[in-house]
Subunit: 355 residues, 2 copies
Amino acid sequence: MSRYPGTEHEGRIAPDRLHAAVQAIFEACGMLRADAALLAETLVAADLRGVHSHGVLRVPEYVAKLRHHGVDPQGRPLVVSDQGAALVIDGHNSMGQIASFYAMAKAINRARTVNVAAAAVRGSNHCGAMFYYAMQALPEDMIGIAMTNALPTMAPWGGKDKIVGINPLAVAIPTGEEPPIVLDAAFSYSSHGKIRIYHQKGHPIPSNWAFDSEGQPTTETERAIHGLLQPIGEYKGVGLAIVFGLLSSMLSGAAFGTELGNMIDGPQAGQDGHLFLALRVAGFEDPARFKERTDAAVRQIRESRPIQEGTPLYAPGGLEHELAQAYTAEGIPLNDVTWQGLDDAARELGLPAIA
Amino acid sequence: MSRYPGTEHEGRIAPDRLHAAVQAIFEACGMLRADAALLAETLVAADLRGVHSHGVLRVPEYVAKLRHHGVDPQGRPLVVSDQGAALVIDGHNSMGQIASFYAMAKAINRARTVNVAAAAVRGSNHCGAMFYYAMQALPEDMIGIAMTNALPTMAPWGGKDKIVGINPLAVAIPTGEEPPIVLDAAFSYSSHGKIRIYHQKGHPIPSNWAFDSEGQPTTETERAIHGLLQPIGEYKGVGLAIVFGLLSSMLSGAAFGTELGNMIDGPQAGQDGHLFLALRVAGFEDPARFKERTDAAVRQIRESRPIQEGTPLYAPGGLEHELAQAYTAEGIPLNDVTWQGLDDAARELGLPAIA
């Protein structure tokens, strides 16, 4: 989790109201009711967990994909190859969320019998936050792993050509009484979206977020936007991005890196790739013992000493879990830009305003 | 790959001579001939690829494990659970290399029929560099993934208790004509071994390598040695270390984090855990097409523009591949400390000196 600078006007909305409004928008774009509901659910789930960068902020962009940029509102993902623990899914140019949910469900189903399964996806599109698919595995007492290819925004280490995506990875691990362990991280320090927010506010960015177009670290948002994202851990982070990007695209025959498109023209519709794995705990270990031990690991982190007294410490996903509980009770805070985007999308589609 | 500061006296040795000498040392420790040969092979392979931190430098430490610290020189790993694509291996307190090679071989064998397989290991010990096991998958046109639990050297983000290991991950991806794509990275910026080398030489360390024992960044090696390693990418790197550590230990019932031991007393013998996955490319995609595309990805990186003209750019594992070719031809360079360790081990065991 990361924080944004400054405070801003926020309006709160109950998750189910937000869900209904966003579903209506996607139905008005021609999506089937169940698909629109699922897509809305993935976005609201991101906002609930405080991952606003992948929440309903994305609605205008997704409406544009569906109405103007060639994504098929009624695209139907299908299994095109099924061999043992290995599945290949063609998203058939559906919204990435539709293809990804379907693929993870297929991997989970296969893991019910063979304990480990992998579903490689091609023919997909931007699929939002990866944690959602990794977490699909949790109610089944399975570990979920989700990864995706992304538009290139980084250079190989020592280079200055934008040919590597930040290619996020999510891992969800079942617990018993404690919040599930859920990591969702891209291999860059920051993101274009975050740098744009700093740009709007006139804040400089930390020196480890971006390189200018010549590969030199910069704190100027203008140079950063036209430059490169910095990986975490220098050559390690780029290396991780490269291998997880290859896994996300090459097993299914999806586009990789620059084949997918670029940050100026955007992605080519229906070329994206992802990879989902499900590992059934009971195939390896007694699930009760497993969850007792993961609970203990979460507690050990929470009860360890913070640098600054009073700072709460979290296992991966712990803070997001707390936010989801709070926002379920108190409503989801959305900023002005997000509200405006929702209102504009509703108006464009002839729907009533949400607020 | 990372570089060490300064130059030092180096002696070169042919890989097969080094292998024979190291094998003899481990045989003299009571290992079976084939096991000693495999253990020597993994260490020489690390030196060949320039990963000297995990090469024959480790011989004295491994001799101590075998002779004084309770690792069973003749421990035999065995499959204790075999369910579909999921295997659990008990290393039976063998050297970690023996258990790991066996486990990856079993995962590969299972992936021949079901295309994806995972082997979780318990009852193991330090297993050296992870790339070796990931690369076992390559001749089979499989993707290999290898990860391990490690002694805790990091704190949760915002904390100062040493409860998280750097828990390295290796991924090997087949190519056709280009060097295989091989990533092997721990989730810390640096390592205790590297900081000790800077300490010996009186060099300060970069400010992103370590925290002091209060969780503050330090460039002083003395404080760093008694402090904490810094993760790559702040909370992201710690999160990655936590989830890959959990995957490496909890599926097999191995010790996790502080259960394994600490950096002062060392690990408890026979408690370590690892996880190995094999994904058979042909289960998903035509291997010829896959390898054409991974070749193209490697070439795209190599042919992209460096920041400083003339600097070669590599896909993960490319530099290591070049070093292995050079060292095979010209001999492996070993520094004085490593030579001394080998000589001391040979002498302790009544063997002739190596040089």
